[in-house]
């Protein structure tokens, strides 16, 4: 009977080797994957009781971990919750993480591979591991200007957004969305408090947790005329001085309808220059241009500015801006003036503006400037990279001149800054019947050496229908943000 016993010994050995190999697979090879799963409470608990890194803006922390006397030992705190809440995001035991707390979690929690050496040192030194710090590109003065600007239109209930970019790098200098929420409420350690706050936020019809700068698209209205103008100039068939129709209405083919101007009257003559058309935001002229160059050229131009793409890595949930896929001719005319099915995020419109400001090259937008280890060694520094070449530099120059003229002589006068050349474009986007239009303003300054490009959207400020216009509501905020950056 010894032979089968020996055989069984081999079989049993094979079983035990299988156990050993499988344990190695589970605890070593697959460990990272299992540890990074979202529903893994262990990893979350450990992260919660670790000193998480801070999120900094110009050296001041806008998110920090402070020691507390409970099971988790550290509490996440947001000193300026409303002003920076949409950027920092929340760090919630129950609802996970959001915004920079989510995208930079590896660094903040200290589990990033670049912090491996720190972790080993901590392990042998028997000190608790710490997370690294993240510095944002935000300019606090610009952020404050944008925040206050929206607030002063009508208090905390104003719906709107401001996004400011550095045209030459793509760095986000300001990003404000209103109404705001307080991430402290979601990051508390009292679980019922968290879930109450969560319910309140998700049931609020105004959706305060939504970052309107990137997570929602709006009809861009007349600010989209910049894209139409860019497509027209790029086609080579038009110059800023080309004559285009400027009458009171534009006949739309295939229908009995006509496209009127906002004012109801003409744009200053039956034939006007392209520059004039932009100055007065002439619907007739741009509707005509759109039909002339066609929806494909418009779409292609829009895509060169970033429509239909996701380009923001530092914040989660950026939605794609869109241009309709197959419009007929009247729809193309409406699309050319930023109506019909055209929709863009405020960040997208800021990128259109910044692309023009930067000689036609759109830079990839980013929010994280610098990442540091707990010992303040710089681990990573943002490296600006071009995103797409939207227009040639000569077209960018022409568009800049046209936009300067909008501010100097046209609808954008409210954005003028003494002694500084400002280039801009207003927009008033119709939404649906019975709903107030959206007020837009996009601009950059100084026009000859741009330092900041900004897009302002006012979705609803609780003012009368007649008082809503890009120049009246949005342009003053843009001006304030530009001043904050330039006068720094």
């Amino acid at each position: 009977m010894n032979k089968p016993i020996r055989t069984m010994a081999v079989v049993v050995m094979a079983l035990f080797v299988a156990l050993l190999v499988n344990s190695t697979y589970l605890q070593y090879i697959r460990a990272d994957e299992l540890n990074s799963r979202n529903d893994n409470k262990r990893v979350r608990d450990a992260e919660f009781s670790r000193e998480r890194g801070a999120i900094l803006v110009n050296g001041t922390s806008v998110a920090e971990s402070v020691p507390v006397d409970d099971k988790f030992e550290f509490q996440r705190r947001y000193p300026q919750p409303l002003k920076y809440g949409h950027l920092t995001g929340y760090y919630s035991y129950t609802y996970g993480r959001n915004a920079v707390e989510l995208t930079q979690n590896d660094i903040l929690s200290g589990s990033d591979s670049r912090l491996f050496v720190n972790r080993v040192v901590d392990m042998f030194g028997n000190t608790d591991p710490k997370g690294g710090d993240v510095t944002l590109t935000v300019n606090p003065a610009a952020q404050t200007a944008a925040f206050d600007g929206l607030r002063e239109l009508g208090g905390p209930g104003v719906k709107g957004s401001v996004v400011a970019l550095d045209p030459s790098t793509g760095a986000i200098l300001a990003m404000v969305s209103s109404p705001q929420y307080d991430p402290n409420e979601l990051s508390s350690h009292r679980l019922t408090e968290i879930s109450d706050a969560w319910t309140r936020l998700t049931e609020d019809p105004d959706r305060p947790a939504l970052n309107r700068g990137i997570q929602e698209v709006f009809p861009p209205g007349s600010t989209f005329k910049l894209v139409t103008a860019a497509a027209a100039l790029e086609s080579g068939q038009y110059t800023p001085d080309s004559r285009v129709p400027g009458g009171a209405t534009l006949d739309l083919p295939q229908t009995d309808n006509v496209l009127p101007n906002d004012s109801g009257g003409s744009c200053g003559g039956e034939r006007i220059t392209l520059t004039q058309a932009l100055e007065v935001s002439c619907n007739v002229a741009f509707g005509f241009l759109g039909m002339e160059i066609g929806d494909d050229a418009l779409r292609e131009q829009a895509q060169k500015f970033g429509f239909g793409d996701r380009y923001l890595d530092d914040l989660n949930g950026q939605v794609e801006s869109r241009f309709p896929s197959d419009p007929d001719e009247p729809q193309t005319a409406y699309s050319a003036i930023g109506q019909f099915d055209v929709a863009a995020t405020p960040l997208q419109m800021a990128m259109v503006t910044a692309g023009i400001a930067n000689g036609g090259t759109v830079m990839k937008p980013y929010l994280v400037d610098e990442v540091r280890s707990p010992d303040l060694d710089v681990l990573d520094k943002a490296n600006p990279e071009p995103y797409r070449n939207a227009v040639s530099s000569s077209v960018a120059r022409d568009l800049t001149q046209m936009m300067i003229s909008v501010v100097d002589n046209g609808t954008g006068a409210t954005a003028q800054i003494p002694n500084i050349k400002v280039a801009g474009k207003t927009g008033t986007a119709q939404t649906s019947e019975g709903r107030n239009p959206y007020a837009w303003f996009v601009s950059f300054a100084p026009a000859d050496n741009p330092e900041v490009a900004v897009a302002v959207l006012v979705e609803d400020a609780g003012v009368e229908r007649d008082a809503i216009s890009g120049s009246g509501l949005a342009a003053p905020i843009a001006k304030r943000v530009m001043e904050a950056v330039i006068n720094r």
């Binding site: 009977m1 010894n2 032979k3 089968p4 016993i5 020996r6 055989t7 069984m8 010994a9 049993v12 050995m13 079983l15 035990f16 299988a18 156990l19 050993l20 499988n22 344990s23 190695t24 589970l26 605890q27 070593y28 697959r30 460990a31 990272d32 994957e33 299992l34 540890n35 799963r37 893994n40 409470k41 262990r42 990893v43 608990d45 450990a46």
Partner: protein
Amino acid sequence: MPADPRTAFAHRRRRGAELFLLLLALAVGIGAYAAVGLGVEGTTPTDIIGYGGWLVLLVVAAHVTVRFTAPYADPVLLPVVAALNGLGLAMIHRIDLAELEQNTEANTFARDQLIWMTLGVLVFVAVLVLLRDHRRLQAFTYTSGLAAVVLLLLPLLPVIGREINGARIWINIGPMSFQPGEVAKVLLVVFFAGYLVLHRDALALAGRRVLGIDLPRGRDLGPILGMWLVSLGILVFQRDLGSSLLFFGLFLVMLYVATERPGWLLLGGTLFAVGAYFAYLVMPHVKARVGAWIDPFGTEYDSYQIVQGMYGQAWGGLVGRGLGQGDPTLIPFSYSDFIVAAIGEELGLTGVMAVILLYGLIVERGLRTALVARDAFGKLVAAGLAVVFALQVFVVIGGVTKLIPLTGLTTPFMSYGGSSLIANWAIIALLLRISDQARRPLPDLSGPADDDATAVVMIR
């Protein structure tokens, strides 16, 4: 092994080696207990002297018994078991502390487990003292078989039978609950060994050859089919996948060892595969286990326990979080079936490998005992015990580490559970008894040296 046992290698007693290894095992058990205190509360536990003293007492009692009643027994088995049991106790104590942290009214298990361990050692001593020759068990072949079947049926009885977590494998005696299957396991080994010693020639030699496999005669096949039915019965009526697999696997292996016909493994394996497949098709309980195994992160089947176990082990990584530094209470039943996951979390892959290797050592020493045993009955009992132990370890650790579908079985010597602990201590006592007989120098016999004939004479 040489053909003539009288010229075989003469084994020494090696009791001194056993004592030295036992000291190491005590260091593991008491050290782990102290480490738990340090990890959880920051100081060594206040009862470390009393606890450690009690462990020392138990180990010394076991060692002294072996020294006097089985002086030639294998010197490795007892220390390995002591180390595993001590580590298991410390781990259960650690999980108790974690539970108490969350709920001061929580059930604790470590004290009960220590009592069970004490009873286990008493059973161990009793087996060694009362059973001076394992061949006496052969007289109880059919008694054991009957007792095993009765024990297996007990949980199905209305009053004392109890269903816990879907498996009806428990009985209530007064305030205590007991898993009779664990004891039935030992009895079945004895029954199979006794039965096969008598029938192995008929099973091996009579019958026809079909497709290269030697098939036995119908009447010899009866008990095998009967055992197959019993296994399926356990599966169907008690819904205990693990025990079903264990008993049938045990039977097949013993049949193979007795007859030296691999065809039995093939035939039995096929029967089991067919039965298991039908169980999978028909029984939602089995289907759920397999489903949770194939796709633990899916939502179709409840896989919370296995996923938490995997998270725990992954969190432990190579060296573990350290005793007291993990979160083993997140895993349901981390003090019993899933104790290996808790070990994996706090002692890491290193700890799990050490535990698996210790189990491997027990199995290896058991099979070695079977190899050197001088009588067929002893060989079969030792091989059966070693294999049933190996299968149990494989099924439970394989289930916890997601190598195979999860089935409910206790982890020998580590899981909380009295029946399992007592039965396993009895298994070790039996192995030591057989090993003592096998390693003892042969008396100078002038009579016939035929093992089997001698055995029969001695029994009757």
